[in-house]
């Protein structure tokens, strides 16, 4: 399945054990509210595993990090998992400096992410 729920969500694919959301563009103050709404919508279907493909995300700020933290809370509340893959060095460094790399599951690729 492929949908364009906003200009950051490039694709939403549903696999048997996971929903994979591919993002594209800067996750910043301008785009975070729409991204939050889109991810809340996806999390509303309670996928066992919400996998975020970040390979199309060149930049993230604290509003973007906050969006992921809020959605992470929703997913873990229903005992689901939220997993990231495809982080570039810039995005990873923001996760690290906010110490969220200790809380989020970050994988190297989609195969690992769908099985983590």
């Amino acid at each position: 399945m492929s949908t364009n729920t906003n200009n950051l969500v490039k694709e939403v694919r549903k696999a048997p054990e996971a929903t994979i959301v591919a993002l594209s563009g800067d996750v910043d103050l301008h785009h975070s509210p729409a991204l939050h709404a889109a991810l809340v919508d996806v999390a509303g279907d309670r996928p066992k595993r919400l996998v975020l493909d970040m390979s199309g995300v060149p930049y993230i700020d604290s509003s973007g990090v906050g969006t992921f933290v809020e959605v992470f809370g929703r997913v873990t509340a229903y005992k689901g998992k939220m997993v990231f893959f495809g982080l570039n060095d810039r995005v990873r460094s923001v996760f690290e400096i906010t110490k969220l790399d200790k809380f989020f599951v970050i994988c190297q690729n989609e195969d690992q992410a769908t099985q983590a």
Binding site: D61, G66, I97
Partner: protein, 166 residues
């Protein structure tokens, strides 16, 4: 400290302006010899500062003035760097109360000041007498903040960062 002529950007308090500022800052950082991660750190700090002005100083109003000035500088020991000022006319806040929050709390919000203080070598907020806020910050090539950003900090480094942010 030697200084050059500043570059000044005047924007309104709209989040739509942020990518434009990020592009300009990144170009200047590269001209001044900043590498990939130091450029990113500078861009991120300015972006976070502007987001705070938009969200808190102007409480989301998108038509208010913000001036960003950048200039190349040198530290006392000769390290090149970029000094940045962010000037707004929004709500004034006691500079002593502008602090990052503990990272042990996993929740949205409050991370911008932590990021700014972690990636920049100098950060100083002030309340000009004619209103608004003035933020002055500096990043030096090879400065203390450069070592930690872009590399997973070891325990000792993380402690050092936390102390630097206070």
């Amino acid at each position: 400290m030697s200084q050059s002529v500043p570059i000044e950007l005047n924007i309104t308090s709209s989040a739509k302006c942020l990518p434009v500022v990020r592009g300009a800052v990144e170009k200047m950082a590269k001209v001044e010899g900043f590498g990939e991660m130091d450029s990113h750190a500078l861009v991120l700090a300015i972006d976070e500062a502007l987001a705070n002005v938009i969200e808190h100083g102007y409480e989301g109003k998108d038509d208010q003035p913000i001036t960003i000035a950048l200039m190349s500088v040198k530290s006392k020991d000769g390290h090149p760097g970029i000094a940045v000022t962010v000037r707004d006319k929004g709500r004034q806040v006691d500079p002593g109360k502008i602090k990052g929050r503990p990272l042990e709390e996993v929740r949205p919000g409050g991370l911008g000041v932590h990021i700014i203080k972690s990636v920049m070598d100098e950060v100083e907020y002030s309340c000009p007498p004619d209103g608004g806020m003035l933020l002055r910050m500096v990043k030096y090539l090879g400065g203390a903040a450069s070592a930690a950003f872009g590399n997973a900090p070891e325990e000792g480094q993380a402690k050092g960062l936390a102390q630097k942010g206070e």
